[in-house]
Amino acid sequence: MSGWLGPQEWAAVALSMRVSFWATLVSLPLGIFVAHALARWRFPGRQLLNGLVHLPLILPPVVTGYLLLLTFGRQGPVGSMLDEHLGIVLAFRWTGAALAAGVMAFPLMVRAIRLSIEAVDPRLEEAGATLGASRAWVFLTVTLPLILPGVVAGAILAFAKAMGEFGATITFVSNIPGQTQTLASAVYAFLQVPGGEAAAMRLVLVSIIIAMVALLASEFVATRVARRVRGT
């Protein structure tokens, strides 16, 4: 494939895969936790948390990217702290692209998982408790296996969204070839230069293939898991 794609194109595809993978993996535990809190717990500020989670879905991506830059940039409150104490820099790095992609994909992931948690009969969780399982064990042995189809769907959705993320990424980490130039940024960059259409077209094909494969994989996994969970 690297023969067919130019080095810059190949770098963009590989970077997008890496960014989406880590964005999905790191946000998954947090997504499950937040979805569970929104679906099952009653606490003050629940609606506020719900709004906060959904904000990236509603805000223009450029605004989200700019807010990330203000917060996680080297001069930003969180960014300067990370830089000073842990030596982590996000702005204009691929890790920053992963953060931007993760934030943008988070609402989709939480929605999918939350719906599946709400579909779990809480009486099954009660039954687990009467059998001696603490809340954490009930979650791990009853709730989590039952919501697995939703978790898979949420993860795939988040991965696909991360692959296509453009506005927040380019605002937060710019469009540096080989460093922060994701697939979407690369397509945009190639379209800006004369004669770049061919490269852009190849990347468009690649993203279509990746999207289709992801979708089919999610369907396959989800139906298999759902059959297992339904108990037949």
């Binding site: 009486r123 099954l124 009660e126 009467t130 399982a133 064990w137």
Partner: protein, 366 residues
């Protein structure tokens, strides 16, 4: 072992205020729907926090609102068999059964897996998932799962209510086996007098959130004052009889304390004790010894108490040998026959009045 409960809880339109003691064996918490039975069971399991109250099993406190004690559900070792089974759909029957046992590891004694599987006849179901089970099979698995969590108390919330008559008849013998072959005390929530007669050692009758009657099953079932709570239609005494012999004409002779009665052939060995239920509506009262009747079962008896209901009905309690029986007659008959305490009578029961489904096998130990 004794379970001690006292709790009160106020709902929007209903106040629960009960206190009772449940000794070993099966204690049936009896009452119509909405009488607060399930609330009591949920409070004992820790699924509902009552506004005030205290409960303890053998001195182990489950909750005590005055002392601020609230044991979380998973530390109570209270097994719960729910009306709808609530099996985990993603686990096989084997893993459903073993779910609670894993958390109860370290608990001293307890039924072994093989024993429970055999007791409930689950051998051929172990590899299946709950979705592929019938309603009766699901309830048997739920029973086994609760037993294997090594509970110090077993709660059953109308475990038969969702089943048809055939499935009920399939489960009842297993419930009797659990009662007779395990040490675990059982609190059984029900609104069926037939289940009370068949399973109960002790009855606690609830009505609109209060305990209206409590005591040994035979005493409560033959108490005319309990009739309005149990329901006039289903009222009837529960007696224990012993199978004497099988007659060649297809009848089985059962000895009660007042004399023999005859039932269509029962598949039990002579010498075995049986619970027999005689519904009040199936008893005909005669002052003299009736002659020329087709009914086989006629017992001499003496009127013990008479309770006149609000309508035209009268419930008469009879003493027949050591046993107490109930009969429901009209007010007119009660007056015409001069049924007053001490009056000598004969009770006529059609042999079909002793229904097979209501006959429970009583363990020798009882």
């Amino acid at each position: 072992m004794t379970l001690d409960v006292a709790l009160s809880h106020r709902f929007k339109d209903f106040a629960l205020d009960v206190a009772f003691e449940a000794p070993a064996g099966v204690t049936v918490l009896f009452g119509r729907s909405g009488s607060g039975k399930t609330t009591v069971a949920n409070a004992l399991a820790g699924l509902l926090r009552p506004q005030s109250g205290r409960a303890s099993i053998n001195g182990t406190v489950l909750f005590d609102t005055a002392a601020g004690v609230w044991l979380p559900p998973h530390l109570r070792r209270v097994g719960y068999v729910f009306q709808e089974g609530r099996l985990f759909p993603h686990l096989t029957v084997r893993r459903n059964l073993l779910y609670g046992r894993w958390f109860a590891r370290g608990a001293a004694d307890g039924a072994s897996f093989e024993r429970v599987v055999r007791l409930l006849g689950l051998e051929h179901l172990l590899a299946r998932r709950p979705g592929a089970l019938s309603g009766g099979e699901k309830q048997r698995v739920a029973l086994g799962r609760a037993l294997l969590s090594r509970p110090q108390l077993l709660l059953m919330d109308e475990p038969l209510a969702a089943l048809d008559e055939a499935r009920k008849a399939e489960i009842l013998p297993y419930l009797e086996r659990i009662r007779d072959q395990t040490e675990v005390p059982i609190l059984y929530v029900s609104h069926s007098v037939a289940e009370v007669a068949r399973l109960a050692t002790t009855v606690v009758a609830l009505d609109r959130g209060r305990v209206v009657r409590a005591g040994p099953a035979a005493a409560v079932l033959s108490d005319p004052e309990a009739v309005p709570t149990l329901g006039v239609r289903e009222a009837g005494a529960m007696l224990v009889g012993r199978v004497v012999r099988h007659h060649p004409d297809g009848l089985t002779e059962v000895a009660l304390s007042a004399g023999p009665i005859f039932m269509p052939r029962l598949e039990v060995e002579p010498g075995v004790s049986l619970r027999i239920r005689i519904e009040a509506k199936d008893v005909i009262v005669a002052r003299g010894r009736p002659e020329g009747l087709s009914a086989l079962n006629i017992l001499p008896a003496e009127v013990a108490t008479v309770r006149r209901g609000a309508g035209g009905g009268v419930i008469v309690q009879f003493r027949a040998g050591q046993d107490l029986l109930l009969a429901r007659v009209t007010r007119r008959s009660a007056d015409a026959l001069e049924l007053i305490p001490g009056a000598a009578c004969h009770l006529v029961m059609k042999s079909v009045a002793v229904a097979q489904a209501d006959i429970g096998e009583v363990a020798q130990a009882d």
